[in-house]
């Protein structure tokens, strides 16, 4: 900023923030400079004045003077606020006043009609040589044109933004350039935003459309909404415009219609009753659908969730500047308020902002829209409106939309105002803007199509003229004004041609920059399709009702016809009945039982004789199945006969039993005849006459039965009988006798053939006895016979009739199978013998046990008694050996005595072992399981015995069997005994093998030798105490081993084979842990 002071001591100074100052130049130079500056000053198009501290113009440039309509010279001395602003005092925004107050630069945007427009004003302070503020340089730049352009852009850009339909723009290479509010649904789903690439599928779509150069339309689902999407390429601009309309409701209606149609078709096929129910069901379904729609509406009211998800902020402010609610967007952008007032935590101020746009809405109680730059540097478009809280208190609801990006977009929009227009034009719904007076101010192409009038005709005309009910349209319009918007307001558009289109109107008031309502923006949605769907549904329902009606009528007619037919039949029957009565009497009173049945085997006639035969009354059995006459056991057979008659056959004599009502069965002989129909071939019935032969049959049967009974009795008693025919020498056998001998019934027999069945060993005896019987002696014998290779025992008794001369007249005898009895006897004998053996064995064992107890008792006593003298002998030998030390070392006496003492000592040791074994055996071993190293245990046992050098020892212990749970003392003793025995068994040398391995949860230890084997007769005795084969053995060793192994719950066994040797096997169950 440059200035020239009026003062005599001229100074040229530049000043920045009143801190830096440059002083004085020489006069001549100053003058030269001044001239240049004067000219420059006047040529600057900005309005420049130099003001003193009393707002008087000290200097004005040409531009300024021109605006005031005077020369620059005339300006000097004028009061700035009076001449420029026509005010009595400086205006509130006056930057000069501010500069005078604080000595700093100030700027302001000012609208001043007196100067003809908007200005960007800046003031720079001037100082004198003492640094005192004396005035300021005041520069105003005309920004009227810029402001106008901005206004224009804003108004244009708002249109697509406010459009309830989706409007987006995507560059030909697939970047999202713009999206209006409605488009956010889709953007959110893509998780994308303006400036970012669209999903790949869309990128391909956009590229395709752009290349083809033609529009493309399709439907697509987005967040449960169905959109009708149109892509329009704008070739020159290199992008594609996207327009989408929410057709969810229409789709729903279509789908419901389709479903209803299907359902209706199905139901028409069903019977009348069900159709009625179905119709009710449909009614309910319609109600249900309506209810569902209501629910959806109610759901929408639960907007808090939505608020939280809004990509804009929403806050509720109390009149005392507190934030009573802030949505997530707000909290994320500006943080939590923690109870501070808005200006405190947003701007760190101590007092409310001045001026505060937001709170104006409380004064006016009208909605307010404005732009705001937040503390985060973003630009927000703000919607403020008074809001009545649930408790009745008044709040401000402020919605802020981040328009930072939009602001940038606006820059671009300026160059493409055509585009804004095209958005409106391309909209698929008719869109109109209406002035406050109700006149149409703008329309789009869709409106022209919907009304049939051109844009020129439409603009300026009354909007209500284009509806079937203008008054309704005006009502809706007024509603927009009172409520700010209408939604889904139903109206019918009338086309110039007379065609009516049902639409739902969505409209909002349209405001200018100052928030004044300028008019209404209205978008119509064609609901013809939906209406049509509903109409179709209603029609289908009516049609259904009609069909039900029709069907009912048909059924009623059919019923009438049937009734008439029945009446006719009855009449004919009556005529026939009379002629038949005569014939019936004939049959009824016949003597023989007569029955008639029809082809369905049902009784049609039944005469008196038949009543007597069966006990049934004719009227009871009429039309009953024939079966009731037959007893259960012969029913099938009888029905077979009956069926034969149906095929035309008739009975000559057939026996069919008849069941009487009292349960008795009568045997009846039958003959039958078929009754043929008019054609002479069709059997229409069968008549049968019977003869009761029950008594005759009874006589035959009892005869047969007595024979059967006899046979049965013999079978039960396992007794057969025979009779001897003396004349023919033939034997007559009963059935049972044949069975016993295993010969087919009726085979002819003689005494000789009988004898052949007798067991060879008994044959002579039987023959002798038979001949004795012939001499008159008693014949009652038991002998064996051979039947099918098996021996059986029989008892035979015979009664022979002889005359006084001893000649055989006749013979009768019985044969009884006594095999089982004999076998029982044998078993009993066997069993008693076995018992005796058992007793013997037990007695032996008891004796043995008794002996062992005695041995045990004495062993304990003897042990102690022997050990005392042993101790004395041991001590005595020791002393004697000590004494020997006094003899010369090489004397033969000393050597000999030493040998003798050694013998005594060794034998003492041997006695000690015997005593130990005795004591061990007599005592119940106390086993204490401990974890024991088997390897070490075996080595220990081996070290305790002297193994001759000609015996090779091998130890094979399975690797994972290093430790076992055993009583180490006991087991060592067992191993020691077995090792000693093995060594003894190999006087000429051999191999001693000790193996240990795990198998089936058991530890196995084997001690094997290759020596002489154990004699077969000694094998059962080797574990018995006091048994020994050794010259020097007391016979307790293996007995003790067995006892110790058994104390481990184990087993000890052995195998011994000549030439191979002996192996002793110890098997110990594995124990998990020490006890």
């Amino acid at each position: 900023v440059v200035f020239v002071s009026e003062r005599k001591s001229r100074k040229v100074g530049t000043s920045r923030k009143g801190k830096k100052r440059t002083d004085v130049v020489t006069n001549i130079e100053t003058l030269l400079v001044k001239d240049v500056w004067e000219r420059t000053f006047d040529s600057i198009p900005d309005l420049i004045v130099v003001l003193d501290n009393r707002h008087r113009i000290v200097r004005a440039n040409k531009s300024m003077a021109q605006r005031l309509g005077v020369n620059p010279e005339q300006c000097i001395g004028l009061n700035c606020f009076k001449c420029v602003h026509k005010l009595d005092a400086p205006p509130s925004f006056c930057p000069h006043s501010l500069t005078m107050a604080d000595g700093k630069e100030h700027t302001a945007e000012v609208h001043e009609d007196n100067l003809g427009g908007d200005f960007l004003v800046s003031t720079t302070p001037l100082f004198d040589s003492q640094g005192q503020i004396i005035g300021s340089v005041h520069v105003a730049r005309d920004i009227t044109q810029r402001k106008k352009a901005e206004e224009e852009i804003k108004s244009l850009s708002r249109f697509p933004t406010e459009n309830p339909n989706v409007v987006m723009r995507i560059s030909k290479d697939g970047n999202m350039l713009y999206s209006n509010k409605a488009g956010l649904t889709i953007l959110n789903e893509w998780k994308s935003e303006v400036g970012q690439p669209v999903p790949i599928k869309w990128r391909q779509l956009v590229t395709g459309v752009f290349q083809s150069g033609s529009k493309k339309e399709f439907e697509e689902e987005h967040s449960a909404q169905t959109f009708l999407i149109m892509l329009a390429p704008i070739a020159d601009a290199g992008y594609v415009n996207v327009y989408g309309r929410d057709i969810t409701e229409r789709k729903k209606a279509e789908e419901a219609l389709r479903k209803a149609h299907e359902e209706l078709e199905t139901r028409v096929q069903e019977r009348t009753k069900e159709l009625r129910e179905a119709s009710e069901g449909l009614q309910a379904e319609i109600t249900e659908r309506k209810r569902a729609e209501e629910a959806v509406k109610a759901e929408r009211k639960r907007f808090i969730d939505v608020l939280e998800k809004l990509p804009a902020y929403l806050v509720l402010l109390t009149p005392d500047y507190h934030v009573s609610y802030a949505n997530r967007f707000f909290r994320e952008r500006f943080g939590e308020d923690h109870g501070k007032r808005c200006f405190e935590y947003l701007f760190g101020r101590t007092e409310p902002c001045e001026p505060c746009e937001t709170y104006k809405t409380l004064k006016t109680m009208a909605p307010l829209e404005w732009e705001w730059t937040g503390p985060d540097g973003h630009n927000y478009y703000i919607y403020d409106s008074p809001f009545t809280d649930v408790d009745g208190s008044t709040l401000i609801m402020e919605v802020g939309i981040d328009i930072t990006e939009r602001k940038k977009a606006e820059e671009k929009l300026r160059a493409a105002s055509l585009y804004s227009r095209s958005l409106i034009e391309a909209s698929l719904d008719p869109l109109v803007t209406i002035s406050a007076e109700g006149k149409i101010t703008d329309v789009n192409k869709a409106t022209e199509e919907a009304t049939g009038f051109s844009r020129e005709q439409l603009i300026g005309s009354d909007f209500s003229d284009y509806f079937t009910e203008p008054e309704e349209a005006r009502k809706g319009y007024r509603k927009v004004f009172t409520e700010g918007f209408v939604k889904d307001y139903p109206l019918a558009l009338r086309h110039r041609s007379g065609k009516i289109t049902d639409v739902l109107y969505n409209a909002t008031v349209y405001r200018n920059e100052l928030g004044e309502i300028k008019g209404v923006f209205a978008a119509a949605r064609d609901i013809t399709e939906r209406k049509r769907a509903e109409e179709a549904l209603r029609k289908a329902h009516d049609e259904l009702e009609m069909r039900v009606e029709e069907r009912t009528r048909e059924l009623t007619e059919a019923a009438w016809k049937l009734q008439a037919e029945i009446a006719e039949r009855k009449k004919r029957e009556e005529e026939l009945r009379e002629t038949r009565t005569y014939l019936e009497n004939l049959i009824d009173y016949a003597n023989a039982p007569i029955i008639v049945w029809n082809p369905a085997n049902r009784i049609t006639r039944f005469n008196h004789a038949f009543e007597r035969l069966t006990g049934h009354k004719a009227e009871d059995v009429s039309d009953k199945p024939l079966e009731i006459l037959f007893p259960e056991d012969s029913k099938e057979e009888s029905l077979k006969h009956i069926r034969r008659t149906a095929s035309g056959e008739y009975w000559q004599v057939v026996e069919i039993p008849i069941l009487r009502t009292d349960g008795n069965v009568r045997t009846v002989l039958w003959n039958s005849a078929n009754i043929l129909g008019k054609d002479g071939t069709t059997v229409v019935g069968t008549i049968a006459q019977g003869e009761d032969i029950t008594e005759r049959k009874q006589a035959e049967k009892s005869l047969r039965e007595s024979q059967v009974d006899l046979n049965r009795a013999q079978a039960v008693a396992q007794t057969g009988s025979w009779r001897l025919d003396v004349h023919s020498n033939a034997l007559l056998w009963s059935d049972e006798t044949y069975r016993m001998f295993g010969i087919p019934k009726g085979t002819s027999l003689t005494y000789e053939t009988f004898l052949n069945f007798v067991h060879p060993d008994d044959r002579e005896y039987v023959d002798q006895q038979w001949h004795a019987a012939m001499r008159g002696e008693l014949y009652d014998i038991e002998h064996r016979i051979v039947v099918d290779g098996r021996v059986r025992w029989v008892r035979e008794k015979a009664e022979l009739e002889l005359n006084k001369d001893g000649v055989l007249l006749s013979g009768f005898g019985t044969v009884q199978d006594v095999t089982e009895k004999r076998e029982m006897h044998a078993k009993l004998e066997e069993y008693s013998r076995h018992l005796e053996e058992l007793v013997e064995e037990k007695t032996q064992k008891l004796k043995e046990a008794e002996r062992l107890v005695t041995i045990g008792e004495t062993a304990g006593m003897v042990g102690h008694d022997i050990r005392n003298p042993l101790q004395s002998i041991e001590g005595a030998v020791y002393l004697a050996k000590e004494e020997l030390q006094s003899l010369p070392a090489d004397s033969s006496e000393r050597k000999e005595l030493q040998e003798i003492l050694e013998i005594i000592r060794r034998q003492t040791g041997y006695i000690d072992r015997i005593v130990a074994d005795l004591q061990d055996f007599s005592r119940t071993p106390m086993v204490q399981f401990r974890e024991t190293n088997l390897q070490e245990l075996v080595a220990d046992a081996l070290s305790m015995t002297e193994i001759p050098e000609n015996i090779q020892v091998q130890i094979l212990i399975q690797e994972d069997l290093q430790t076992v749970q055993v009583d180490s003392v006991c087991l060592k003793r067992v191993l020691l005994n077995l090792i000693e025995n093995a060594a003894h068994a190999m006087p000429n040398g051999g191999e001693l093998t000790i193996k240990a391995f795990k198998q089936e949860e058991c530890t196995h230890i084997h001690v094997e030798d290759t020596g002489i084997c154990i004699l077969e007769e000694n094998k059962p005795k080797i574990f018995t105490p006091l048994f020994t084969t050794k010259a020097k053995g007391q016979g307790f060793g293996l007995a003790v081993c067995k006892k110790l192994v058994e104390a481990h719950n184990g087993e000890i066994t052995f195998e011994s084979k000549a030439g191979k040797g002996t192996v002793f096997k110890i098997k110990l169950p594995q124990r998990k842990e020490a006890v």
């Binding site: 102690h864 050990r867 003298p869 042993l870 101790q871 001590g875 020791y878 002393l879 204490q928």
Partner: protein, 145 residues
């Protein structure tokens, strides 16, 4: 270095054992005395003090283990060696519990008896009998169940 004579009481009902043990131990330079019954042993112990006692567990008038309990009460610091002709683990634990320093099974080898007594007496001297440490020992030739 001249050794101070240690005194040992031998308690056994077998006279020949008393005779032999007396000879063996005196030969080793110990002062010895004998008792044939529990009663006699108690009297002798009251009359004079001993460094060590060899006690037969089976005595005619009293049970050796009971005797051990009584002696241990009156002479806790004296070394007590139990000796028996009828070995059992129960007896062994019993006598060790009742204060015996060792448990020997007859016939014990003379060399072993001598070395055990020497060892115990040496330990008694060094620890001043404050810390009794039971010593488990069985004649090597005897297998013990």
């Amino acid at each position: 270095m001249e050794k101070q004579k240690k005194s040992i009481l031998i308690i056994d009902d077998d006279k020949s054992i008393l005779n032999i043990f007396t000879r063996i131990l005196q030969k080793q330079g110990y002062k010895t005395d004998t008792a044939e019954t529990g009663q006699e042993a108690l009297e002798k112990l009251q009359a004079s003090s001993f460094h060590l006692a060899i006690i037969d567990v089976k005595l005619p008038d009293t049970n050796g283990t009971d005797l051990l309990v009584r002696i241990n009460q009156t002479h806790p610091n004296m070394i007590k060696i139990a000796i028996t002709g009828f070995p059992s683990l129960e007896d062994a634990t019993k006598v060790i519990d009742r204060g015996a320093a060792a448990y020997l099974v007859k016939p014990v080898k003379s060399e072993e008896l001598i070395s055990i007594i020497a060892e115990k007496l040496k330990k008694q001297q060094t620890t001043d009998a404050h810390h009794k440490q039971p010593f488990y020992s069985f004649a090597a030739s005897t297998t013990f169940i």
